[in-house]
Assembly symmetry: C2
Homo-oligomer: 358 residues x 2
């Protein structure tokens, strides 16, 4: 007899397998670091021994380093197997089927997927048409059932940020009601503003960070969840004891030591982001403001054509047309000066070709 | 205001942090591979590039290799972040709070922890006093609420196996009732018998395997969940898309190619296990039968003393006294001939010293 999954699992959307075969291409589609991590991480990998990887991971040293680096105490964060596990952990710890999640959309898709495993109510609040954050609509949507609000600052895939005062307003109201605020700061390194110093002021604030973007370690899977020590104590009960692999740990040790590398990389991305935006605008394309390492650009009817033609030239970008508000939009990652030049030249050629025929 | 976790989380046992500082010791306490993985894995690590680790993991090649190696189709398994994630995934997919888990004890502790996150009823069935499997008591315990039965063959920490006919009897009865049978074969490589060819005969059978034991890759976190394609389809909906890191993937590619290494290692462990058992018995110690890479040995009142004295000599073993049926028992891992000699010499010295004074 077939074994029956939980009702919530039966209702879940079908599996959409991750994309493959991206090596060797100009990867501007997943908001990764397109040149990679600090070279010192690669040096470290060469020194790994059989003992290093035969032992279940140990976390003492990395916990010490992270506490120092982010200026928090060791019981105010925990490491997760990418931010994905962090999000799932927060939902598993706090959310019951009868609860409600307020989810501004469009947003990173894993929030909805993990919430649908639990089977809680997911109430979506649409971003404003200019992709600015819908603060008032979000506040109006809070109900007696609301248990968690998702904020991403800056947000993927919109690229836009949330005004500091708006976050404060949300935190103050939700803190009184005991509503969890999950603030994802995955793109912090390209932005520079953080609520990390507020984790002990707002007891309902939980912040996630990742090593998958600026740090160039997406393949190793490492995220951090920050909150006050009381929340972390509960989250730790639900966390698997060995969920972060030892190579992610050792790579993060080295990467955090090479702070200069991340700073230089992030600065380069910010400069190149502005150049690419300006050049795309010269082509009469609508480019939304961005505080991340990507640009949302509206290509109108040419959207799919541009995506495919770029792919033919070995340049990968992400078509986000199926997302609310993002019809005809491509999400385009920012890389080095050379990578941006290659991208811009290709887009110009493609657009000129398209306009000749339309 | 403090945010309140789910009731089930509040009831969970306090966090017991993993042990640290085990490097450089003779590690016979976690059933790891005490000499490590195939040297070819270490060679592979030296060739890793920044691109390898900057990209979100891709699984096509490893899925192909695993399908071939284990003679299953690509939709009959999935990779997990260690067996830990596999167990959690199975529970998250199939078990609701109103369900019952039948759990033979003593057993690997994560089954109970993940079940208690869900808050389902956990009904424990005690192993027999000789640490053989309590088949009849288990079958008698099946109720209308039973949704999952955990089997570990061979089992940690008892070291004992389950008779093939008993497993068949359990599978036949549970298959008719739609009860999930989670069969953990983590120690398969030291045992040699598997129900993998039966995943399409018993639709309720889900099998887990790990690269943390014989393969010597505990630090990298890689497990496999096998079942029929219908079950895997549902499990995949709940699985995080990038939960396995790329280095675990690349290491497994190399490790599976070096089949000879695992065979030689497992054979060595089996031979040394018998030698250590015989030598411990010569000291008038009760040693339970084992089909794994460890031996459960009853040290009577000397148990804690032996554990501590071994630790002073840099030899780590695991005191399992707090587990049901295992009062005064140490779980002792098996290593190379040299490692076993060192262990036995130390135990002999310690026991002689103890007996002089007691």
């Amino acid at each position: 007899m077939n074994i029956k999954p939980r009702e919530e699992v039966l209702k879940m959307p079908k599996y959409d397998p991750p994309l493959e075969g991206r090596r060797g291409k100009l990867r501007l589609d997943f908001n990764e670091n397109p040149i990679g991590c600090s070279p010192k991480v690669i040096e470290m990998l060469k020194s790994l021994t059989r003992e290093d990887i035969a032992i279940y991971p140990e976390y003492n040293k990395i916990n010490e380093k992270i506490a120092n680096y982010f200026n928090v105490s060791q019981n105010e964060f925990l490491l997760t197997n990418g931010t994905d596990e962090g999000i799932k952990l927060i939902i598993d710890t706090y959310i019951s089927p009868q609860d409600e999640m307020l989810l501004p959309v469009p947003i990173f898709s894993m929030f909805e997927i993990y919430a649908s495993i639990i089977g809680c109510q997911i109430s979506k609040i649409l971003y404003n048409p200019d992709l600015s954050f819908p603060t008032n609509n979000l506040l109006k949507a809070i109900s007696a059932r609301t248990k968690i609000i998702i904020l991403a600052n800056p947000n993927n895939p919109t690229g836009t940020d949330i005004n500091e005062n708006d976050i404060l307003k949300i935190l103050k109201i939700t803190n009184k009601k005991g509503i969890v605020v999950l603030l994802d700061e995955a793109y912090y390194d390209f932005y520079g503003e953080t609520f990390l110093p507020s984790i002990n002021k707002y007891m309902n604030l939980i912040i996630t960070r990742t090593f998958s973007k600026a740090y160039g370690l997406a393949g190793l899977r490492l995220g951090i969840v920050f909150s006050n020590s009381q929340n972390i104590k509960f989250l730790r009960r639900v966390l698997s004891p060995y969920s972060v692999n030892i190579i992610a740990v050792m790579a993060a040790m080295v990467a955090l030591d090479d702070e200069e590398y991340i700073k230089k990389f992030s600065n380069m991305i910010k400069i190149n982001r502005n150049i690419v935006k300006r050049e795309l605008e010269k082509l009469d394309l609508k480019v939304y403001p961005s505080h991340t390492n990507f640009l949302i650009t509206d290509f109108g009817n040419a959207c799919e054509y541009v995506e495919k033609e770029l792919k033919k030239r070995g340049i990968l970008v992400r078509n986000r047309s199926n997302y609310p508000l993002l019809k005809n939009c491509l999400r385009i990652g920012i890389g080095t000066e050379d990578q941006c030049e290659k991208l811009l030249q290709a887009i110009k050629d493609i657009i000129i070709k398209w306009r000749k025929n339309h």
